[in-house]
């Protein structure tokens, strides 16, 4: 996945650089705007396997955020950033319930998922743009803080009294990065829309508390140190500065 995305980005970048050499130089338009789209997690983070301790149980979700970039005068380079929130659905809660039922050899189990897989991202970094009339191709590579949340769960085994075990919700922060490209189109002066795609990556180190686990049986996760990565697609509305 990484190789495909990296290759695509490199190809697009190379094509753009070559094409820009052939056109008249034109100032890049700085912008600020809002963005949102689908987030598609990958790797172990997107698996919902009870028996795999690295499973993150994250399924396709959404992201929203504010973004912007300032392009230096007479240059195609700039600096920009994004503040975004990413929310993933929970994959295979039923698999967790079935797994605990089997692991404790009980007639039935009920699992409540507490919270969501989600991240808040504050990322900044360089931008490169290729202005093509009303169109612009924006490339970016951003890095910064990712604050991630791993949902907890409560498991009730049969209907026994006090027979509840719990994995607490946990949060962790780490350095994260994302890189991608977008096509921006100026609809009317100063107002534009864009569509883009990014690859994102971070690897927070979660420490997880568990409650009421007197016996060594059943899935028990004390820590989670697995990459949160994948692809996100975005649509956005921007205000463009300059002429």
């Amino acid at each position: 996945m990484k190789i495909v995305i990296t290759s695509l980005l490199a190809a697009v970048l190379l094509t753009s650089v070559l094409s820009v050499q052939a056109q008249n130089k034109k100032d890049a338009r700085s912008f600020i705007g809002i963005t949102g789209g689908l987030s598609l997690p990958g790797g172990d983070y997107s698996k919902g396997d009870y028996n795999n301790d690295q499973s993150g149980f994250a399924k396709t979700g959404f992201n929203i955020g504010v973004t912007g970039a300032y392009y230096f005068k007479h240059s195609h380079f700039g600096i920009g950033g994004i503040l975004s929130y990413t929310h993933y659905g929970f994959k295979n809660a039923q698999g967790l319930a079935d797994g605990y039922k089997e692991a404790f050899d009980v007639d039935s189990s009920t699992v409540y998922i507490k919270g969501n897989n989600q991240t808040i991202n504050i990322l900044v970094g360089p931008y490169y743009t290729v202005p093509l009339g009303k169109l612009s191709l924006d490339f970016r590579l951003l890095g910064g803080l990712v604050n991630a949340t791993l949902p907890g769960n409560e498991v009730y085994l049969e209907d026994g009294l006090d027979n509840r075990l719990k994995q607490d919700k946990s949060t962790a922060s780490a350095f994260g990065w994302q890189g991608g490209a977008a096509i921006r189109y100026t609809i009317v002066p100063h107002i534009g829309v864009f569509a883009g795609v990014d690859y994102f990556y971070s690897k927070p180190n979660f420490s997880i508390d568990n409650e009421n686990r007197p016996v060594n049986a059943g899935r028990k996760i004390d820590g989670y140190h697995t990459a949160i990565s994948g692809v996100q697609t975005n649509l956005g509305l921007v205000y463009e500065f300059g002429k």
Partner: protein, 188 residues
């Protein structure tokens, strides 16, 4: 510009609010009919002083729905007084052919199973579990035991297989009962 800036600010606030919100999701794994039965409980007893002195007592109920279907004709142990015996507890499902070995399953799930013994009054028998599970700290299981007899006497030895999912603490109280059977013990 002002409108977009305002909207961007609102969105930033929304992001923080969404981050704080959560909604529980629920999943239930319901009972599945057709689980295997536990029809037979056996005590395989070996005299520590004479390994050739081996006997097996067997409690059997092939028709769990029929209270009169219990076969206790072989649920009898004849032990020597003032002796020590090594004991294995075996669980079988004899509704299958060949009989299903439930003992191995219980061994795999020993961290939440416990076998409890109790004597009727007057029976001079001491039971000590000798195997332990892999809990921290390790707790007794009871699939392997040591019987120590005293002077001659007769009575009943009750055996219960306790199922203690996420509850096992070394005592017999928590959990539910998977098997509850009686053996007649003659010490003579």
């Amino acid at each position: 510009m002002k409108k977009i800036a305002s909207f961007a600010t609102l969105l930033a606030v929304l992001i923080v609010m969404l981050h704080a919100c959560s909604k529980d999701e629920k999943a239930v794994a319901p009972p599945v009919p057709g689980n295997e039965f536990l029809t037979t409980v056996q005590l395989k007893v070996t005299n520590a002083a004479n390994p050739a002195d081996v006997q097996t007592a067997s409690w059997k109920d092939l028709t769990p729905d029929d209270p009169d279907g219990v076969d206790i004709s072989k649920a009898v142990l004849n032990l020597k007084p003032n002796s020590t015996y090594k004991v294995e507890v075996l669980f079988l499902d004899e509704t299958q052919s060949p009989a299903g070995d439930v003992t191995e399953e219980i061994k795999e799930r020993q961290n939440y199973h416990l076998i409890c013994f109790s004597n009727s009054a007057g029976l001079n028998l001491t039971v000590q579990r000798t195997d332990k599970d892999t809990n921290t700290p390790a707790l007794e299981v009871g699939l392997e035991d040591q019987f120590t007899t005293g002077p001659a006497s007769t009575g009943t030895l009750n055996l219960q297989l306790r199922h203690q999912p996420n509850l096992k603490n070394g005592s017999c109280e928590p959990g539910s009962t998977d098997a509850d059977v009686d053996f007649t013990v003659n010490i003579k």
